[in-house]
Structures are given as structure tokens and as C-alpha cells.
Amino acid sequence: MQLVTCPTCGAEVAFRSSALPVRVCDYCRTLVVRYNQGAQGMGEAGVLPFDISPIQIGTEGRCFDQNFQIIGRVRWAWDDGAWNEWLMLLADGSHAWLGEAMGQFMALREVELTGSLAQVIRRLMNDTPVKPGESGNIAGQSYEVADIRTVCCIGCEGELPFTAPIGWEALSVDFRNRDGRCASFQKDRHGPSLYVGHHVNLASLQPRNLRPLPGWSLPAYG
């Protein structure tokens, strides 16, 4: 755990993970980037709208055969909706993403964009448009393009592996296959990234410390 002073408001900012460079200051919403001994403010994070997601920062559970803790969140919006991407800190120090939309979850880990890539991925990297239904092999499994969206980051909180300022836009392409696996390709001004994972539901994560929602009884999981 590393403690840093927020360059904008002077509040104490704690970094739980040693690997992640960015944290949203809880008080002034500055994106605090740390390096070596110091910290720098790099823009402001958007205010997250009210939602009733059952996940919160601090929720714990089990995914990818490891225990995890939720330490951050990015909210993405597109023309016809929005969803949360929760950052999971896994027990081995690596991180993964838990995408949450419509009560369904996708657990995704970043994979290297190297080696032989499916043609659909290469076309996306070259900014060539693709259509829903096109298929390709990712990490040894066959996937189909489910949807293609231009998304915009509308807010974030907690610790993050990248700065996510307001107005940050990206192209996001979701893939799915028959066995419940999924993949996601993202490209923004920093470059492309590819994530691979599977669908989960809340119960299978064996979650603890879920957000209590007034009017709803917390189910007994884990």
C-alpha cells in the first residue's frame, strides 16, 4: 500500500496495488498518476451517475480460480446505453476486468496482441470496419462478432491501469461463442487491446461485501 498526496486538493490517496499507476481521488475526482516517489494530476474523472449495481469497490469474490478484490471502475456509454467495467485485483497481483451489463457479467483478461491473429482482429487494428456475425479465432477458440460500438468514458473511480479522463472515446467490439466464452477488442488513441474471458453470473463469483441496496435483501452467497 502506497500513500500519496493528491496534487489538487491535498487529500490522502492510497494505492492498494503496486502495479496500477492511476487512482481517482475520492474527494476532488482528480486522476492521480504516481511515478517513482511523486504523483501528478492528469485530468478529472467524470462523476458517475447513480446506478444500482450490486458490485462496489471492495467487493471480493472468486474468478479465474483465484480470489479477487474490486478496486476500480470505469463506466462506458454509447448511443443506446451504458455499462460498468469493474477492475479486479487478483490474488497473484495481476488484474482483470468484470464487465457488467443487463445483469450479466463478463470476466475478461487482457491478452497480448502478438503472434498470428485472426483476420477480423487485424482488420480492426487497421480501422477496417467489421460486421456482426463475422467469425475469427482468438486464443484457440472460435468467436463471432456480437456488436460494434463507439463508446465514451463517462466516469471512473478507484484504482485504474490507465488514465480515463472525461470524453475519452474508444471503439469497442464484443465477441461471443457457443460455450459461454467472450472476448472484447478496444481501440482508442493509445492503441488496440484485446481481452478474452467468459460469461459469469453473480452467484458463481461467490461474492462477499456486495453493495447493500435499500429495499432489496442481500442474497447469501459465498
Binding site: P49, P54, D80, A101, M102, R176, R178, P214, L218
Partner: protein, 446 residues
């Protein structure tokens, strides 16, 4: 950040009515339940998408109602009414923040619980398979159009919105595919029993099917279940009847009597006895054998006469035998022996009074014309021996078959109703007409 309530109240920008936002963060479109105006829930200013001025109908499940179904508490947050040009049905969007979304589909008073699938089903020829369960095609591509909307939805729904729909069924379940330009979505709906839906939400009970009504595509035949449950009982009863038939069908203490009667001679009457009947009531079997009858008949009247009360229990047998030769060879017909079964004789000592008369139709022998009866009577025929075996008890196989018929009547009635039900259900099927396969699937357990 502490919240007072999960539900956010807002004023409809069109009519001012207070409406609720229950699934904040997920809801994309909010349709005012009072005026029908569509509001963009992703816009912080709650921008109007389309203004309507139409009071929405009172719903079977009002928005905001909570109900517990299969151990999970759900809130009904949205409602839409859809039509495919033939049928109209209601769909209620159920929400639980920890479990996600489900659908309650109401059609013809029947309720189904719908769950969206995350992965497409496997194909097997024209069928689809989900988790090892097979669904056969029922409705091929139809167009389902939204006619009315109220409450919250996670996509940009609007009245008039259309999707192409195909449905596959197995008893109790429907697998639906909905396609628009962007994506395919698969949903499995399970038909709920009246008890289950009414325990969760206070709705009217589903109507009981009677011939003339059309069942839903995935409605399981209640008669198939009954027939399956009943046939072991029927088989057991059949075996029990067989056992009873053998137990109670024995004849005991046979007594033999004989008399002779001359064909075309005078009626012979003889009394035999005593025959003692010990039980309160019993049947008697009388076997009347006339091995010598040929080209004629012997009429044998028997009467059991109770010595004390003089009550008479009668039966009669007609033994006959004819034979000859024609172009096909030798032929014969008739029975030289008859078995009579006399029912329910009370206890007592009886005499058997036998009257016998015989006639011969032969071409040989002498005839004389008898003026009194205007018939030809033969003369000089040898007497025919009548041997009677009287035994206590009787095997009434007619009783047995009558009982078997009564055992089978209710299952046969269920079978008739099942055929009527499945006929009406399968008549709605698109594509190739229903074949034996469809009928067999209709008999499967849900």
C-alpha cells in the same frame, strides 16, 4: 455514499405524473405509465423521445409489484404488449439487482417465465438443443411488433418496433429467436403452473383447457401425464382381476345325471337331486352334452327348484349338429355340448328338473305327417343320450371383461382428450404438418 432508496422518483416531463426509475444504470428507455411518453433514461435531463397521450391499460401486474418466484424476489419494472398479426400477448420485465432480468410472458391467460441465453443453442438438423434438451421447430419466421409500452427497459424500445421471431418447442418450454438488424437474441420460456404464478403474483388463474380452445404451442398435454401415471394402476388392476377370476372361477363337487330323449318323440321330463347349495349365494354350472345328436337338435330346459321355497331358477340349452358334403368337401356346424351358468342361487337343497325334446331333420328313415303340428316327423330314430354335469360355482369371464372395460374407460377417455388437445395445439404449427415425431414429443415429460 449512502442512498435512501434504490428507487428514484421523477416527474414525467410530458404529463407531470410521478414515475419511478428502479433499475438506474441499466435502464435506457422509460415509458411513462400514465401517458405513454418515451423518455431517454440515459440523458441526465430525462429527454422526451416521443410524446404520447394515451393512458396505459391497468396491468395484470402493476409496475413496481414485487413477487417471489423460485426463491428469488422480483420487481416488475416494465411492460410491453406485442402482436404477430394473429395473437396478442403481454411481456413483463422482472428485475432483481443481484440476479438480473427475467421476462413474464402472458398469453391466453397462461404465464411463462423467460430467461435470455448467453450462448446460442446447438443445431441438430432442424432442431435446436440447449443443455441436452431438444426443441423442435414450431413457428417459423414471424414478425413480432411492439404495440404498447410502459415502464423501464434496457434497450431503446418503442411502439411499432419489430423483430423477426422463430420459435421452437418441447412440452412446457419454448425457445425463441428474435432477430433485428443488429443482433440475434435467444430466450427460453418455461410455462408456469397456475399455482406457481399465483403464489408469486396475484393474477387470474389460467383457464382449464376444454375441447374447442387452442392450447399454446408449448403447453404440455395434462392428459399425457395422467395416462402415464395411470397405466401402472390399470396394469396392476388387470393382474388383480386375473387372480380373482382364477380364485373365484373354480367349479366344485360335480354331479352327473343322464336321461334319454327320442327325436320327434314325446317331451321327456325328469327330476334329479338332491343338490345341496351351502353358501349364501352361489352360481351353478350345468354342462349339457348330447354326443349323439346328428342332423337335428335337442332342446333341454333345466330348472333348479328350491325344495323349501319352490323358487325356480331356469336356463335352457339348444344342442344341435348338422353336416354334409358339397363342392368344397365335408362341412359341419352346430354344438353338441353347451355350458350353462346360472347365477345367484340362494342356499338350500334343490332338485334339477329337466325337460328335453329332440327333432331330427334326416333324409333317411321313415316319416309320418303329423297333422297337429303340420310337420313331418321321423319315426324309429334311436334315442339321444343327454348327459348333464352339475357343479357348484361358475367362471364368469364376461364379468372379467366387463371389469376390464370399466378399468380402461377413464384412460381411454383421457386418450381421446389428449388427441383432441394435441390436434388443436399442432394445428398452429408452421412449416411441415405435424408428424408422428411431433406427437411422440408431445407425450414427453416437461
Amino acid at each position: 455514499m449512502a442512498e435512501e432508496d434504490s428507487v428514484r422518483a421523477l416527474s414525467c416531463p410530458a404529463c407531470g405524473g410521478t414515475i419511478a426509475l428502479r433499475a438506474a444504470g441499466y435502464t435506457v428507455t422509460l415509458a411513462c405509465e400514465y401517458c405513454g411518453t418515451l423518455i431517454d433514461a440515459t440523458d441526465p435531463a430525462a429527454r422526451i423521445i416521443t410524446r404520447y397521450n394515451e393512458m396505459q391499460a391497468s396491468l395484470a401486474i402493476p409496475l413496481g409489484t414485487r413477487g417471489t418466484l423460485r426463491g428469488v424476489e422480483w420487481e416488475a419494472i416494465g411492460w410491453l404488449q406485442r402482436s404477430d398479426g394473429w395473437a396478442i400477448w403481454d411481456e413483463y420485465l422482472l428485475f432483481n439487482p443481484y440476479v438480473g432480468y427475467r421476462w413474464l410472458i402472458a398469453q391466453n391467460g397462461q404465464w411463462s417465465l423467460g430467461t435470455m441465453l448467453t450462448a446460442a443453442p446447438q443445431r441438430d438438423g432442424p432442431d435446436r438443443v440447449v443443455a441436452g434438451r431438444r426443441f423442435t421447430p414450431f413457428y417459423s419466421v414471424t414478425t413480432a411488433r411492439v404495440t404498447r409500452v410502459a415502464g423501464e427497459f434496457y434497450w431503446r424500445v418503442k411502439p411499432g418496433e419489430e423483430v423477426r421471431a422463430s420459435d421452437y418447442v418441447r412440452p412446457g418450454f419454448m425457445l425463441s429467436l428474435e432477430q433485428d438488424d443488429r443482433e440475434n437474441s435467444w430466450t427460453i420460456s418455461e410455462l408456469l403452473t397456475g399455482r406457481e404464478i399465483r403464489a408469486a403474483f396475484d393474477v387470474d388463474p389460467p383457464p382449464v383447457w376444454i375441447p374447442g380452445m387452442t392450447p399454446l404451442a408449448h403447453q404440455p398435454s395434462p392428459y399425457a401425464r395422467r395416462i402415464k401415471g395411470w397405466w401402472p394402476i390399470a396394469a396392476l388392476s388387470f393382474v388383480a382381476l386375473l387372480v380373482l377370476l382364477t380364485l373365484f372361477g373354480r367349479t366344485m363337487q360335480p354331479q352327473m345325471f343322464s336321461l334319454s330323449v327320442t327325436p320327434d318323440g314325446p317331451t321327456v321330463s325328469q327330476t334329479f337331486g338332491p343338490i345341496v347349495l351351502p353358501l349364501g349365494k352361489q352360481a351353478m354350472t350345468v354342462e349339457a352334452m348330447t354326443p349323439g345328436v346328428e342332423q337335428g337338435w335337442v332342446d333341454i330346459d333345466v330348472a333348479f327348484v328350491n325344495r323349501k321355497t319352490q323358487d325356480s331358477y331356469d336356463a335352457y340349452a339348444l344342442n344341435e349338429h348338422y353336416s354334409g358334403r358339397d363342392s368344397d368337401g365335408y362341412w359341419s356346424e352346430g354344438a353338441r355340448s353347451q355350458t350353462l351358468k346360472v347365477a345367484s342361487l340362494p342356499a338350500g337343497t334343490y332338485d334339477l328338473v329337466v325337460d328335453a325334446q329332440a327333432h331330427h331333420w334326416g333324409s333317411s328313415g321313415n316319416w309320418t305327417f303329423d297333422a297337429s303340428s303340420s310337420t313331418y316327423k321321423t319315426e324309429g330314430q334311436p334315442p339321444i343320450e343327454v348327459n348333464l354335469t352339475v357343479a357348484r360355482g361358475a367362471r364368469f369371464t364376461s364379468n372379467f371383461w366387463l371389469a376390464v372395460l370399466m378399468i380402461l374407460l377413464p384412460p381411454l377417455f383421457m386418450l381421446v382428450l389428449h388427441i383432441l388437445f394435441e390436434n388443436a395445439r399442432l394445428a398452429q404449427k408452421d412449416g411441415s404438418p405435424a408428424d408422428a415425431d411431433d406427437w411422440l414429443r408431445g407425450m414427453e415429460a416437461p
